[in-house]
């Protein structure tokens, strides 16, 4: 239960980090908040030759709004995001709800937004949330910067499109129009656990019709997924209970979640379907309306 030996580097600038990553490539592992990587080091599931600790890199943490876009530095701690967005409404409130489900207070003090995304745990909350929000992931390497959409970033089971010499540096969450509401719902065995299934939904209504939407799920597949067919089915429609129920049922029926010790695939399909109905209902009903029945 102790890590195998490694060389420990503490770059202080992004450029220096990128140079180190280029030099060591696959032999190096980036240490952000460490809430997933350190257990893997302790179990020796990860045995990097070089550990690149980016906690002292200047300028990677912080939250701000620029031209209506929410910019979150990759090293922003979960707790900082939670506090910063505590009175957010509309689309961005989704992030506040989602981050509140990440581990416990002790985990959120250290865990980082970028770390959660780059780790790409299929049951993690933040990948589902940024997928629903249509965020842009800013990735840098010694060659320059690329901006990646969530669907091109999350590639599956603990897998992203980050190359060994690349670093996720920022997350940009676009502004959504007025009339946008969101909902993040999760089922897990105990408070603070990873999701068995979680659904992140963002919906914009204009004159009663859906004009923009995003839906992401955790725990429903071997990786983070977006519910494209649900979004396409909602666009232009009035989101009545029948429409929502049908879209959720059809989407869930096509899911192929991996069975595990917490339940068979069928159970996760069931959770996905019903959480989709509840989240979409919550995101499309006027505030204060009672929850639709989800028998």
């Amino acid at each position: 239960m102790k890590p195998a030996p490694f060389d420990y580097l503490t770059p202080t600038s992004v450029d220096e980090t990128l140079a180190v990553l280029r030099e060591h490539e696959d032999d190096a592992k980036v240490l952000a908040g460490g809430q997933s990587l350190v257990p893997m080091l302790n179990f020796r599931l990860a045995r990097p030759e070089v550990l690149v600790d980016i906690n002292r890199v200047a300028g990677l943490a912080g939250i701000g709004v620029e031209d209506g876009t929410l910019r979150i530095g990759a090293m922003t701690r979960h707790r900082a995001l939670e506090t910063h967005l505590s009175s957010a409404d509309g689309a961005w409130a989704l992030l506040h709800e989602a981050v509140g489900h990440v581990g416990h207070a002790h985990i959120r003090s250290r865990g980082t937004v970028g770390g959660s995304l780059a780790h790409a745990d299929p049951s993690a909350e933040l990948p589902a949330a940024v997928s629903a929000l249509g965020a842009t992931l800013v990735v840098q390497s010694a060659d320059g910067t690329r901006e990646v959409a969530p669907e091109d970033f999350f590639e599956g089971f603990f897998t992203t499109s980050l190359a060994a010499d690349e670093l996720l540096t920022e997350i940009r969450v676009p502004a959504w129009p007025a009339g946008t509401r969101s909902s993040f719902l999760e089922v897990c065995r105990r408070r603070g656990d990873f999701a068995q299934v979680a659904v992140a939904a963002v919906v914009t209504l204009t004159d009663g019709r859906v004009t923009q939407a995003g839906v992401g799920l955790a725990g429903a597949a071997p990786g983070t997924v977006q519910a494209r067919s649900v979004v396409d089915g909602l666009l232009g429609r009035e989101p009545d209970a029948g429409t929502i129920a049908e879209l959720a049922a059809n989407f869930a029926a096509d899911l192929d979640p991996p069975p595990d010790s917490h339940g068979p695939a069928e159970y996760r399909r069931h959770l996905a379907r019903h959480l989709l109905v509840r989240a979409l209902t919550k995101a499309t009903r006027p505030a204060g309306a009672t929850r639709a029945s989800v028998a």
Binding site: K2, P3, G34, V38, P39, I107
Partner: protein
């Protein structure tokens, strides 16, 4: 400065570092292996054995300490990462020499908040952090606050009662 030069020159020894950490108001300077966990550093190098090691992968909360005022899992940090930080461990809650326990500790004493005591230091620090900016906590809020700390003995009833009592007795 050239990047290559810096990584080689400034970090000549990549397996060991000298760090300076303030724990419960005392500053310690020690040379540690870079792969030593913070909780092992506190227990073995500083001989402050009140913080416990249960799971070493962030699940049990026995290793909870406060770093720069926030509760963390000390098994999920390397000691080198705490260079320059201020820690509070359970030993910092009440002065060692004094007769008096901290009000949170006293409440655990009075209300059977512990049996074997293995989880207790982590739960005390979690409760301390929670109560600092919370008055009149409900039972549900208390259970939520300690949901990241496992206790194999008490069934949590005594712990919850102790925290409810400390909420009343701790003047803050």
């Amino acid at each position: 400065m050239d990047v290559e030069e810096r990584t080689v020159a400034d970090q000549a020894d990549l397996r060991e570092r000298t760090i300076r950490v303030t724990v419960n108001g005392t500053t310690y300077e020690r040379t540690v292996s870079v792969r030593r966990s913070l909780v092992d550093f506190v227990r073995e190098d500083l001989e402050l054995t009140g913080s416990h090691v249960g799971c070493e992968h962030g699940v049990c909360g026995a290793c909870t300490v406060l770093m720069d005022g926030e509760p963390i899992r000390a098994c999920l940090m390397l000691a080198v990462q705490a260079d320059g930080a201020e820690l509070t461990t359970v030993e910092g809650l009440a002065p060692l020499s004094g007769e008096d326990l901290h009000p949170v500790q006293q409440a655990f004493w009075d209300h059977h908040g512990l049996q074997c005591g293995f989880c207790t230091s982590g739960i005390l620090l979690t409760a301390y952090d929670f109560l600092r900016d919370k008055h009149g906590a409900t039972e549900d809020e208390i259970r939520h606050a300690i949901s990241g700390n496992l206790c194999r003995c008490t069934g949590y009833q005594g712990i919850v009662r102790s925290i409810q009592a400390a909420d009343q007795t701790w003047e803050r």
